[in-house]
């Protein structure tokens, strides 16, 4: 009888804990300005590629002098060689900016995937090839504008890369 009483006490303790509902939804956190998307690689990677990055320019690349560090607002970490898709977000660690955080709201004129074939990393325009461009509204005739709003993440910033069919290269290449 003592055993049964002990079991009942254990069950009651157990049940009282079980009646707590466990995990519950956290309150909504305010979003920060930023972007996220996916790069899809639809062709095999050429062996000659030494590094690949996502790059975002504030102003359009109309002339070679627009390809300057002051115009570059984001350079992702290196995209792993050979991957078929790559997910990115402005909250990822990146080469530029050096610390992840809210991305400055505004319009960004040129968002692209760019690769190099040189052994050493180079900032010279001639050493970079654009392998994919972000387009909007299904218009592939001109680069899409990335719009970043205050306290909002711009999603689906998706880019397709076909190494066999590179897009129109910006001036200076």
């Amino acid at each position: 009888m003592k055993l049964i009483k002990s079991l009942i006490v254990i069950f009651l303790i157990y049940f009282s804990f079980s009646c707590d509902q466990g995990i519950s939804p956290l309150p909504v956190q305010p979003e920060v300005s930023g972007f996220e998307g996916t790069i899809t690689f639809v062709s095999p990677w050429p062996d000659s590629i030494t590094r690949t990055h996502l790059v975002i320019f504030k102003n359009p690349l109309l002339q070679p002098s627009d390809f300057v560090l002051t115009n570059i607002k984001f350079i992702s970490n290196e995209i792993p060689f050979g991957v078929q898709s790559y997910r990115f977000s402005s909250l990822d660690t990146a080469l530029i900016p050096s610390l992840p955080g809210p991305f400055e709201p505004g319009d960004y004129a040129y968002v692209a995937v760019a690769h190099q074939t040189t052994e050493e990393i180079s900032l010279a325009r001639k050493d970079w090839f654009v392998s994919g461009i972000y387009y909007t509204n299904n218009d592939t005739t001109k680069p899409g504008i990335l719009k970043i709003q205050e306290n909002k993440v711009t999603r689906n910033v998706n880019i397709t890369v076909d190494f066999n069919k590179l897009p129109t290269q910006p001036p200076g290449g």
Binding site: I23, P25, Q84, L91
Partner: protein
């Protein structure tokens, strides 16, 4: 005077015979399989009988009156039933339930030949097939959670803390079906859902390294599923169920606005024609799931053919097929959308086709020697809807020969050799080949004391494609000492090893926000296990089993993030120590009617270089249950507790891949089972009703993966 007495005796005897009746019926197990050899006695009389092969019994020449019948059989709980005879014969069909306490009577094949459980030097648990059916465990994975010392992190098994979670790449327990290893050639994972649970007679779980007999993968233990014996009579089973998930506790999780249903049906038939017999079953399972993108439709086929070649030899073939089309839920969007797939998940549909074909040949070479030849082929194929699609096809072949001999009255020697080549063609892992081979020998030496010493040694060779080949020597020593008939002491020390799976060595992919890179330098991991245990039972009323254990892991393979490039890879990262204590108790509170059981495990699992807890290992876990069976009614209450795990995949949270992934709580799961058999109406049907997660408690085993919310199911099991 003597003449008068003689006349009276004759008169009463004639009257007795003219008014005598019979009590007859059939004795079966819970699934209406006949139990031959059941002793039936009418208490306080000299009447008695035993059941025949079909489970039938007849007690004749019973005069009217009130009687109590006792039914007893080896391996089953005794049952007493009261009945009265007035003016007609009585038909009394009876169901007997397995008796788990009398360990001396339980036969296991964990040592690759039939032994009594009580004579093993290692901790072993038995799970009966009838439990799988009754509690509607249509995936063996769910049932494994009820075993003390076993922790499941989603579909990955951890026996006494052997494993964390590596998304299906490799397993630290070997699962076999009728002794045939059951892991895929590419990922080395266990596909639990492929095992046809309605065809399982029992599952034996060996805790601790068993590589000395089973080789790679058995580093943490072995799960040995034994399929049903083929019926000697035509036997058809129809099992069906329908169920639904309750609404989620929080309204914001209610993504569908409806109670999501699930259902399943199994048809199986078994028969014997002369020297030939078969078990055949087909199962269809459909689950619309409580989570979005997590639905599934599965078809499981199973065929077991047995042919008695001669008086001393037989051969059996086993075919297990599995087709699944379904969603692919990886992790939640966030805690407010806990039942919706993350938008980072790029592939949300998957189709798999798997086939296992096996052969078991057994030849009694002499009174003292049995030869076994086992072969199998396991084809595994899956494809998802990624752009481009990820596909993988693997072929795993296996051939083993084993000789078990009684060298003399004291020594049983089991020796064998096996070879396992595999081939993979995959967009994820490339096209690697692998081959492994092993030689083993285990001697069980019986002394009069009574003491059994088990000594074993196995050598394994492994070569994974371009990786350097490796050799592993796995010795093991165990003792089993029966201090008294009901008090057993056991102890063992053994080593284990595991070759990395092809997936761990060669995966190269980016999916759903994760990039995995290959590691061509990965090496096998190794461990040493020490266990000391004792078992005490008092008649069939009470049993307690205690064990302390320590596992030392060397070069343990874990998934990690390379800080240089943020990519995930598998490497020999850890020097780990897992220590623990295990206690399980079974009590027959009212023999044959009410029983209770529980198991507690304490685990201290440490990465001893970094002095951190190992991932996904709860420090405390507790399982328990109470079962009542009487008047054709069964009522079970089951519960499971696990303390909150200390360490998880923090990288997935830090990288922003699993939002709110840090949310985790202790596990409290309570299930209820209600069953009712219609044997009293001469109908071979059992009806059952299950409530899982009675309190709708929300918990995760893996980051961002809420376990099933409260669900209800009802079904039946009909045997013709």
């Amino acid at each position: 005077m003597i003449r008068l007495i003689t006349i009276l005796i004759t008169f009463y005897s004639l009257q007795f015979y003219s008014q005598s009746y019979e009590i007859s019926g059939r004795v079966t197990d819970m699934e209406f399989n006949p139990i031959p050899g059941v002793n039936i006695i009418i208490l306080n009389t000299s009447y008695g009988d035993a059941t025949d092969e079909k489970g039938n019994y007849h007690l004749k020449n019973i005069s009217p009156g009130n009687y109590e019948l006792e039914f007893s059989a080896i391996g089953f709980a005794k049952k007493k039933i009261k009945t009265s005879i007035t003016n007609k014969s009585v038909k009394l069909n009876v169901i007997l339930f397995p008796e788990p306490i009398k360990t001396d009577e339980v036969i296991v094949t964990a040592g690759k030949y039939e032994q009594k459980k009580s004579e093993l030097p290692v901790s072993t648990e038995i799970l009966y097939g009838s439990t799988l059916t009754e509690r509607n465990f249509r995936n063996l994975e769910y049932a494994m959670r009820t075993i003390p010392g076993v922790v499941m992190t989603e579909d990955q098994i951890s026996i006494r803390g052997s494993s964390g979670y590596s998304r299906g790449a490799g397993a630290r327990a070997l699962v076999t079906i009728d002794g045939l290893p059951f892991y895929t050639g590419d990922t080395g994972e266990i596909v639990w859902e492929m095992i046809p649970t309605t065809e399982i007679q029992r599952v034996e779980i060996i805790k601790g390294a068993a590589s000395s007999l089973y080789g790679s993968s058995a580093i943490g233990g072995v799960v040995n599923a034994i399929t049903r014996n083929i019926s000697k009579f035509p036997r058809t089973m129809i099992n069906a169920f329908y169920g639904f998930y309750d609404k989620p506790y929080y309204n914001e999780w209610d993504w569908s606005g409806e109670m999501r249903p699930f259902n399943g049906i199994t048809l199986s038939h078994s028969n014997t024609f002369g020297d030939f017999g078969f078990n055949l079953s087909l199962t269809r399972l459909e689950d619309l799931s409580y989570r979005k993108d997590d639905f599934s439709k599965k078809y499981i086929g199973f065929l077991k053919l047995e042919y008695k070649v001669s008086q001393s030899s037989d051969i059996s073939f086993l075919v297990n097929t599995f087709n699944k089309k379904g969603g692919s839920f990886l992790y939640w969007k966030d805690s407010r959308n806990a039942l919706i797939n993350s938008e980072l998940v790029t592939t949300d549909r998957i189709e798999t086709n798997r086939y296992l074909i096996g052969m078991n040949y057994k030849n009694l070479l002499s009174e003292k020697s049995i030869l076994f030849i086992k072969g199998s082929y396991y084809r595994n194929n899956f494809a998802d809807n990624g752009i481009p699609a990820n596909t993988s096809t693997s072929h795993l072949y296996r051939l083993e020969t084993q000789l078990t001999s009684s060298l003399n009255e004291r020594i049983v020697l089991t020796s064998g050799a096996e070879v396992i080549p595999s081939k993979v063609k995959s967009s994820l892992f490339g096209n690697p080949d692998a081959i492994s081979a092993g030689l083993y020998s285990v001697a069980d030496i019986n002394f009069d004391i009574p003491l059994i010493i088990s000594v074993g040694l196995r050598y394994d060779y492994g070569k994974l494609d371009s990786l350097e080949s490796s050799g592993s020597l796995s010795p093991k020593v165990g003792i089993n000492y029966k201090l008294y008939d009901n008090l057993i002491i056991r102890s063992s020390i053994g080593t284990g090893f595991r070759n990395p799976s092809l997936a761990e060595a060669f995966t190269s992919t980016t999916t759903s926000g994760l990039t995995v890179k290959p590691n061509p330098k990965i090496k096998p991991e190794r461990n040493i296990t020490v266990e000391f245990g004792t078992n005490y039972s008092y008649q069939s009323l009470f049993e307690i089993d205690l064990a302390v254990f320590q596992n030392e892991y060397y070069e343990m393979i874990e998934a990690s993030v390379d800080p240089l490039d943020g990519k995930i890879f598998f490497d020999n990262l850890l020097r780990a120590r897992i220590q623990g204590f295990e206690a399980s108790v079974s009590v027959n509170l009212i023999p044959g009617v009410l029983k209770a059981y529980s198991g507690y495990v304490y685990l201290n699992s440490k990465d001893i270089e970094q002095n951190k807890f190992l991932k996904y290992r709860p420090k405390h876990s507790f399982t328990g249950g109470m079962e009542f069976r009487n008047w054709h009614l069964g009522l079970g209450l089951y519960f499971r507790y696990q303390s909150r795990v200390d360490e998880i995949d923090n990288e997935l949270i830090d990288l922003g891949i699993v939002r709110d992934g840090n949310l985790r709580v202790p596990v409290y799961q309570t299930d209820v089972n209600l069953s009712y058999d219609l044997v009293a109406l001469n109908l071979p049907i059992t009806l059952y009703f299950n409530i899982n997660n009675l309190f709708n408690y929300n918990y995760v085993e893996l980051v961002g993966n809420l376990r099933p919310i409260r669900n209800f199911s009802f079904g039946f099991n009909l045997i013709l």
